[in-house]
């Protein structure tokens, strides 16, 4: 395959970026999107040019590191996959592909296609945990019986990999789907109920502090989420918030 690539290039956080055009040849249909970018970077290095910076880690669709906006869609044209699991067979020979970083004020660009997602870490640190004694006396989690339905729903929410595709695709750059998944995964388990009130209030406070937008319920995040996190989690987050704030002075 021969492809025309329109890639966002930006030197650093403060510089102004622009779209640069490249051509890559001899790309196998079976290679992954990131492998195609590796080939482009090899070409650039051979020519003595600066390679394109992009995030990646496990390349198995579970770490949440890859984060590209491809042809107007978060993680590209395939559904329920991360960029690393996207394959070139989804594109046509001779096609022009736009590759951009996530765009949100709360996720500033560090370089080219790499964005700073530490805002998500700070939201998680604000309450996305349970406080347990880990000094060697930790109880087995299975000692507390949990209804299967609750355990399944909690696990579904816990599959969020924090890739921020929800923020990238939302017209308001809202992080509600991410926060709702993190709140829901604990809210549905007895171990998580103990700190449920503080958790939801602190995580929402931090989300707002980071500068993410409001949720206007367009549903775009649910569609683009590579892990299929449901909008039901946002309703759950809203209920948790209402219940926590109404019982807090």
């Amino acid at each position: 395959m021969k492809l025309n690539l329109k890639i966002w290039r930006q030197k650093n956080r403060d510089s102004k970026g622009k779209i640069a055009t490249y051509t890559v040849k001899n790309i196998s249909k079976d290679s992954s999107f990131l492998e195609m970018l590796d080939i482009l970077n090899n070409d650039l290095l051979e020519k003595g040019e600066e390679p394109v910076a992009f995030d990646h880690d496990c390349r198995e669709g579970i770490c949440g590191m890859c984060s590209l906006y491809i042809n107007g869609k978060a993680h590209g044209p395939d559904s329920r996959v991360t960029t690393c699991q996207l394959h070139m067979r989804k594109f046509n020979d001779g096609e022009t592909i736009y590759i951009e970083p996530w765009r949100a004020k709360a996720l500033p660009i560090i370089k080219d296609l790499v964005v700073d997602r530490t805002a998500f870490d700070r939201i998680q640190q604000a309450g996305g945990y349970i406080s347990v004694n880990t000094s060697g006396n930790t109880q087995d989690a299975n000692l507390t019986p949990i209804p299967k339905n609750d355990a399944d729903k909690s696990f579904d929410a816990a599959t969020c990999i924090g890739c921020a595709a929800c923020v990238a695709t939302c017209k308001n750059s809202s992080a509600m789907l991410f926060v709702s998944a993190k709140v829901s995964q604990y809210a549905m388990l007895p171990q998580g109920r103990v700190e449920a009130k503080e958790r939801v209030i602190n995580m929402v406070k931090q989300m707002d502090k980071e500068g993410f937008g409001n949720c206007s319920n367009t549903g775009a995040c649910e569609i683009e989420c590579p892990k299929g996190i449901s909008l039901e989690n946002i309703a759950k987050l809203n209920r948790e918030y209402l219940s926590a704030t109404l019982s807090t002075k």
Partner: protein, 227 residues
């Protein structure tokens, strides 16, 4: 507790939804009374007179309604301002095929509805307030007869006004198509069993209520053409 609702994202959305629910209930009541003008002009006059002169409605419910409307407008503008500020650079290429136009453009449909409300106030509400509160005339009479039905008919003689009202109600319909179901989501009412029902209800409400108002305007326009 106030700060959780006026300052933080989710609280603001909850307040937006509650004011939306309030306005949607008001719309139903407004439509029911207006439909009386088609069924029985006399009954329409009597109900309009009651609504226009009852002290509880005029001095308590009316200010609550106006406040709810202004709150919905201001909060909508604040939320939209924050949302626009949350992204500093737009994508060079964005497909936007993962959400509906109405869900992405509530501010546009909302602004059009607001402009319509200004026209509607100019047509009916401001003259009414002037008569009652400035001139002190609470009789509701004009040349010895109730004025409400004749005023309504007079306004809907004008082709442009009927056209403008009809177009405005299309915008209201678009606003409600997303707003109705979105309000339930904002207050946390959504799960696999309620969502399909709410989506259906949303479509019925968003089409039937504005269509009812358009029908009334067109009915009176045609009624007067025939005469």
């Amino acid at each position: 507790m106030k700060k959780y609702y006026f300052y933080y994202t989710i609280g603001r959305k909850v307040l937006m939804a509650l004011s939306g629910f309030f306005l949607m209930v008001f719309l139903l009541q407004h439509l029911a009374i207006n439909l009386l003008s088609v069924i029985s002009p006399n009954l329409f006059n009597e109900v309009s007179h009651f609504m226009g002169t009852n002290k509880l409605i005029q001095f308590i419910l009316q200010p609550i309604l106006i406040s709810g409307l202004i709150f919905h407008l201001i909060m909508g503008a604040i939320l939209d301002y924050k949302n626009r500020n949350s992204r500093n650079t737009n994508y060079s290429y964005n497909k936007n095929d993962n959400s509906t136009w109405v869900s992405r453009n509530m501010i546009i449909t909302g602004t059009m509805v607001f402009l319509f409300i200004c026209l509607h106030f100019y047509d009916f509400w401001i003259p009414e307030i002037n008569t009652k509160f400035v001139n002190g005339d609470w009789s509701g009479l004009h040349h010895g007869e109730f004025k409400y039905f004749s005023e309504l008919q007079h306004k809907f003689q004008d082709t442009w006004r009927v056209l403008l009202y009809s177009i405005s109600f299309i915008f209201l319909s678009l606003h409600l198509l997303h707003g109705f179901q979105s309000s339930f989501q904002s207050v946390g009412i959504r799960n696999s069993s309620t969502t399909p029902l709410l989506k259906k209800l949303s479509i019925y409400y968003a089409i039937l209520v504005p269509a009812g108002f358009v029908f009334i305007a067109i009915y009176h326009y045609i009624d007067q053409l025939i005469i």
